[in-house]
Each structure stands twice: as structure tokens, then as C-alpha cells.
Symmetry: C2
Subunit: 500 residues, 2 copies
Amino acid sequence: MDMKNAIAKLKEVDDKSHAITHASALIQWDAATRAPKNSVEGRARTLSTLTGEYYMTLVNDEFNKILSYLEENKKELDYITTRKVEEYRIEYDKIAKIPVNVVKEYSEAQAKASAAWEEAKNKRDFSIFAPHLEKVIDYNKKFISYRGYTKHPYNTLLGDYERGLTTEDLDEFFSELKNTIVPLVNRINKSNVKINTEFTKKHYPSKEQDKLSKQLLHIIGFNMDSGLIAESEHPFTTNFNRNDVRITTHYFENDLLPALYSTLHEGGHAIYEQNIDEELEFTQLCGGTSMGIHESQSRFFENIVGRSYPFIEYIFPIIQKAFPENLQDVTSEDLYLAANKSELSLIRIDADELTYSLHIMIRYEIEKLLFENKILVEDLPEIWNQKYKEYMGLTPKNDAEGILQDVHWSEGLFGYFPSYALGNAYASQFKNTMEKSINIDEDLRNGNLENIRKWLYENVHKYGKLLTPKEIIKKATNEPLNAKYYTAYLEEKYSKIYDL
Amino acid sequence: MDMKNAIAKLKEVDDKSHAITHASALIQWDAATRAPKNSVEGRARTLSTLTGEYYMTLVNDEFNKILSYLEENKKELDYITTRKVEEYRIEYDKIAKIPVNVVKEYSEAQAKASAAWEEAKNKRDFSIFAPHLEKVIDYNKKFISYRGYTKHPYNTLLGDYERGLTTEDLDEFFSELKNTIVPLVNRINKSNVKINTEFTKKHYPSKEQDKLSKQLLHIIGFNMDSGLIAESEHPFTTNFNRNDVRITTHYFENDLLPALYSTLHEGGHAIYEQNIDEELEFTQLCGGTSMGIHESQSRFFENIVGRSYPFIEYIFPIIQKAFPENLQDVTSEDLYLAANKSELSLIRIDADELTYSLHIMIRYEIEKLLFENKILVEDLPEIWNQKYKEYMGLTPKNDAEGILQDVHWSEGLFGYFPSYALGNAYASQFKNTMEKSINIDEDLRNGNLENIRKWLYENVHKYGKLLTPKEIIKKATNEPLNAKYYTAYLEEKYSKIYDL
């Protein structure tokens, strides 16, 4: 083994793992946006084979030796290669412990669970999804037992999305949020301010919403030559490389707001991916550094930009022009209030900025219980409904607006939800620092997002996975993640809106 | 080595080669139908890596030994496995002679050539495409030199699409066609029958054409649960497995006919793929047996069904309902004549059934010259235009309606065009036999394609690659391919239409 060989082999693994990831992501995107009904089985087979290939590419003695060689000769490596080796080692340790046949079986189970989830949601019947969900959970428990855990089994999964994150961290984090959100919600309940949202519930044709989505994406800086938008059951972002980043949304013809804000949300994810440094392209490092940081970008564009008064002032005439009849007597102030109306609700993706984290807490608590083996899959709808009663005072009418509302579990994404709440906190902390050098309100009022995007590029986007989340927040804001910026932001914003 | 191991390994190669083919085909489908502009490079890289993986899966000592073992123990194999081994051996011999790095380079060159062709066609400028085309041709010449050839270098490429086909066969075949078509065209030129096509050139909105395409696909028996239709620059069919077969069309808003007939054409390809026996699913044998037989199915649905009087009688009211204003004074007889108007023309895909083979002859002659090293790429537009002058008496106004009109060369498909003419001949021969047991005209007049599809299923579709083209035509019609059924069909049809 010499350095030249090792580097060449590393590039080979980069190319192959990248190609497999690209192909798998496209197959999944296609499945969500337009694949025919009977394509499920063939897709599951191919994804399973590709997953097996990905595994074989990374988990083999030769590659292990190459990683070890590079680790031993770390001093000779440039910074990018050093980080690549670190990431490959983590990935290696994560998957090498799981036998290849289990990985392949899991991929097939996942694909079938996704199809079952969609059917179950359409038919509002959890029992269609339950046996598939149970399998997916069992596989994840198996993975934890293969991989081991520190303190709590769930920590292993949490760490996949936010390195080093533990149930202890989250218990504390959510308790801080709770201490702000619950009293705020109670005060809002007693407020005399009543917000009108009737005009948002008129008939908004998909075609016009689609045009509007594209205009909004243009305003926030999504590059349409390096990405596209389509429709799917549940909005998501996927990226094959920095020049092919795709988002989906879902148009509801009886509601203006969901697609509008899901487009801004996914747009934020996409802008992050499109702006990672070119130097990292086609390597393992070309991707968001963690789910939490990713969510900070989507939340930034959805909430801090998209639900701010000055930005709504800017976009309101554009929206009004798209739906002149529906919005002729409406003002930008009306839209601002409607987009920020806070109320306890059943559907996470439609939740307002304030109560959103309550939805996440419910999911966090349920996932924790699942991986403590304290609850059964068949009891999930009941447990879900109990928690919603407790936190929201509301009960879902059916499974589709309850336990079946999210796509995540069907894809095996456990430990992912907390990222959404972390994202809000990261975003507020970024905003706090950004404000010291940029007049955010003025820029938004003019629809000029260049300074904001440049700040995010310089402090977050360009690094991809070159810096860890901890390094990014520290470098950008001079301190570690601290929930106080988020709670202060909520306090200030909602006190004004509800005249508290 | 024992039989159990060898069979297991064969299945592994089936799975892996199938997954790679599925992924690559989806990436290409996506590229043609909606990928963003800047995605070219990333796609080329991934396709190149996947092509390399496909190569490595098939070309290795272990697999060679397994094939040899199975060949030596042929007596123990069932028929499906025997045929699989035969196909793998042919594929192995075809690609093992080409070094893997050349295969990968070629895949990248191909992807870039496709993008350049699209740009060149849009800008009507062959010079944008020329350097890429030259590379693709040089690679194909290199392949021939690696693989060797019998009698004529072009034979090696011809055989890839129709096993055993030679320039000698084709020189004779085309000369027979010429002997019928050229005199027929001359008689038509002198005919007093003048066909009106004005009503087909009105404004036909894409959206309505799209709806109509889906209705037609339903009528001919395309299964929408196992496939879909989208729009692309050039119509094509792709299949990931028998339950996911996709076609594209291209809507011209100023012309009713092109999309209508390209939909029927691609629909024919797709129905073939959807109806291959389930037993062959996910194996190398699950696909059309040759390009010629494939084209026989697309031509069958496009021409023998789609351009027949009884079928047009059946679909005319449906088309009229889709475009009531354009077609209020039109009859099914008018549409029949317009769809069968024969005239010398510049664009292959818009050509009528009679002159179509002349377009193919031009391409065949040019490809033959290219692989005889008798002409240069830079001279192609001139040579193209000369041949069109000679055969058609017409000269393209620009490269887009001349040398750049077809997608094939950008994808490296040389030796493919003759399949189109063979397909016509196969289709007529099938029809001739089918008529002995089925009243085709009556069934078409009632829009009932069940008997026809069943005949095609029993005699062609279900076999996939289990039978060779020669076996299929012999089994189905009791004789080898014979051009006389096609020439007789043309004679009879056009004599009636033009009152000759």
C-alpha cells in the first residue's frame, strides 16, 4: 500500500458510493412523484440490490485497510481528505456491524412499508400499515443491538441525524421549549386578538399555486437550472448532486398556505445543497452536515424569512396577482396574521411556528417509548391520540390525520423528528448573529435575499460536511447551540401578534 | 463448483445486472423527460460508473467459469436456464473484449453527446454535435476492432440488434422493398387522388392531445397501472421491468397526427414488454427478443391497427369529441386518407407507411459508408442532403430537419435503423397468419383488440428472449421472414387509396 494507491482507491469508493446513492435517490424520487402503481415490487428489488452493493462497496477488508492506512498517515492528508476519511470511518463502523443480508432485507421491507403507508393513509386505516411498520421497527431494534448504544438504545438512532445527540440533551432541550411554549399558548388562548383565515380557505387551483411556488423559489434564490419542483403525497427534498436538487410540494386546492410554506421550507433545504462548495462535489462531503443544520436552513426560509412581516409585505402583491378574486379585499397584514395564527392542531406539517415543537415532542416521546420496548405497534394509534389529547386537547378523527400523517416511519426514519426542533433553535441563533451585520427586515421588505444568502453561504452552506454541526454553530455565532435565542424569538413575535 | 452454487451465482448476476440496468434506464428516462439543465455532468458520471459496474458484474473470471460449468452441464438445466446461459455467453463475448476503462469513457461520451445533440437540434447547428458524434463513432469503430467482424465491419453492429443480420441480407432486403416502393411512389405521383390534410394542421392543444393519447393507449391495451406516458423531445419506450414500462411522445400543437401515431407506436413496444411471461421477470430474458421483432409490434399497432380503415372508423368519434371545433366537418374517411397520405418527405418519424423504408435505406447506406471509413463526420450534412435529394427529391432547410432529426446516433445506436424496416416486414407476415384465425377488420371496427392481443401474446410477447427472432417467426407463421407479405400489403393498400 502506498499513498497514491490509497487515494485512488478512495476516489473509486467515492465514485461508486456516489453513483449508487444517486440511482437510489432517483428511484425514490420517481416513486414519490410519478411511478406507476404496479412498480412497487420491481423497485423494492432494485433498491435492495443497490443497498447491498453500497454495503459491499464500503464494508470489505480492502477498504478497511485503506482507511486504516490513511488514518495512520493523517499528517500527509489535506483537510478535505482527512474529513472524508473520518466520515467514511463513521459510516464504516455504522454499517459494518450489520450483516449484508439483513441490510438488503431491510431495504425491501422499507420499500414495501412506503407503499403500504400510502395505501393506509388513503384508506385512513392504520391496520394496513401496522405489520410493515412493525417490521421496520424490529429491524431498527436489531440494528441497535448490532451497533450497541450508550445509556439509551434510542441514542444510537439520534446520533445518526445529529452526531452525539442523546435523550438527556433532548429531555433538557424540550423541557426548556416547553417552559416557554406552554405558558405562551395559554396566554394566546386568553388573548382578545382573533385572526381571520377565511380567505386562505377559498378555492386555489393547483395550476396557479404551482406557478406561484416557482416564483417564490426564484425570489429566495433556488436555482431552477440545477433543480426542479414536482408534486408528491408528502413534501420532501432530494439531491443527486449540487446541480440536481429536487423538491416536492403538495397542493391543496382548498387552502392557500400549506403549499406556500412547504415550498419555502423545501426550498431552504435545496438552497443549502445547491450552495455547497464546488470542491466537495461528488464526494461524501457534498451534503448537509446534519439533519439539525439542514432543518435550520429550511426553517430559516420557511419561518424567519417566509413568516416575517417584511417578507410577506414584499410577496403579498405577487400572491394577490395570482389569485385576484380570492384576495381582492385582503391586505398583507391579513396574510401575515393568517400565516402566523397560532392554534393547537392535529397535523404537524400545517402547524404554526409556535406549536410546531409540541408535535415534535409527541413524536420524540413515542419513539423513545418504542425503543425502550414499553409500547406495542398495535397500540400506537391509541397512544398517539392520548398524547394529542394531553398536549393539544384534540383527538384525530381518523388515522390519516393521526398516526399515519408522517412519511418518516415508513422510511425507517426514527430519531429524525427531533432535528426539526433543533433546526428552529439553530435558525434563531443564526438570525441573532446575522442581524449584527445585516438589516434583515429591510432586505426582506425589498425582496432582496442576497446578503442573507451570502451570509448563510459563508457561514453554513459552503462547508457541506467539511465542518460538523458543532463547529458550524460555534464558528458562525461564537457559542454552542443555545435554546434561548429561539425561545426569545417566539416570545417577542407572538407577544406582538397577540398583544400579550 | 457444484450446480447449486452455480445457479445461486447466476441469480446474483441476474439481480445485480438487472438493478444496474433499471437504475441506468431510469436516469436516462428522467434526463429525457424532466431533469434540470445543469444535471448533465453528474448524470454522465453516474451512468459511467454504473456502466463500469455492469461490466465488472459480467466480465470476471469467476462468472466466466460459472458460465463454462453450466455450459458443460447443460443437460441438467431447465430450458429457461439454458437460454439464460446462452444470452449471458453472447453478452460476455460481446463486452469482455472491450477494456473496462474504454466502456466507462464511452458511457460518458454518450451522455455528453446526447446533451450536445439536443442543443444542436434546438439551434439547428450540426457543428455543435459533430465533435461528439465523431467520438461516439470512433468508439464504435474501436469496439468493432476489439470484437472482430465477419465480411463487413458493420455486421458486428447489425448483429447486436438482430442476431446474424448482415449487409448482404439487408442489401437484398432493401432491394426487394425498393422494387415495390419506388414504382408505387411513381404511380401515386401520377394519381388524380388528392388527399386533404388541412384539418390536421389546426391548433390542437397539448393538454387535449395528452388526454387523447391516454384514451388510445387504453383502447390498444396498454396497462396504465404498469406504465406511464410523458413528453420528451423524441418519443421512446423504456422498461425497468414488465410492471414498469414507460413511453414518451411529443405533442405538436399545430399537428394532430404525429403524437397520435407515435403514441400508438410506442404503445406497441410497451404492450410487448408488459406481456412477457411472468416467469421470466427480473431476468435477462425478460425483454423483447430483438429490435426487429420489437419494431414489428410497434409497427403493428401504429400501422396495421392504427392506420387501418376499421380502426380509424372506431376511434374517429373519440378524436372528434376531443376536438369538436377542428373536426366538425370531417369524416372518418377523411382522417383515414390523411393518416395514409403518401408523400416524399424529410422527417422519418412523420413519414407515411409507404415511404418510411426509404428514410431507413438512406440511414443504412450512410452508416455502412461510415463504418467502411469512406466518409467523414464533417461531411455528413452534405451527404445526408444529397441522399435525400436522390431518394426524395427534397433538401432539408436546416440540420434540425436533416442530419440532426434522429436521437439514435447521439446514443451510439448504429445498426439499429434497419430494424425499423425489418419490423414492418415481420408485422405484415404476422398479420397474414393472424388473419387465418381472426377477423381483424371486424374486431378493429368494434375497438375490440382482445383477440389480436391474445394472438400476439401467444405467438410473440410471452416468449421474451426465450425464443430467437428466427424461432418466433417460424413458429408463428410456419416460414422464415419473407419480404413479400409486406410488399403485397403495401401494393394492395396504396392501390386502393390512390385508385391505381
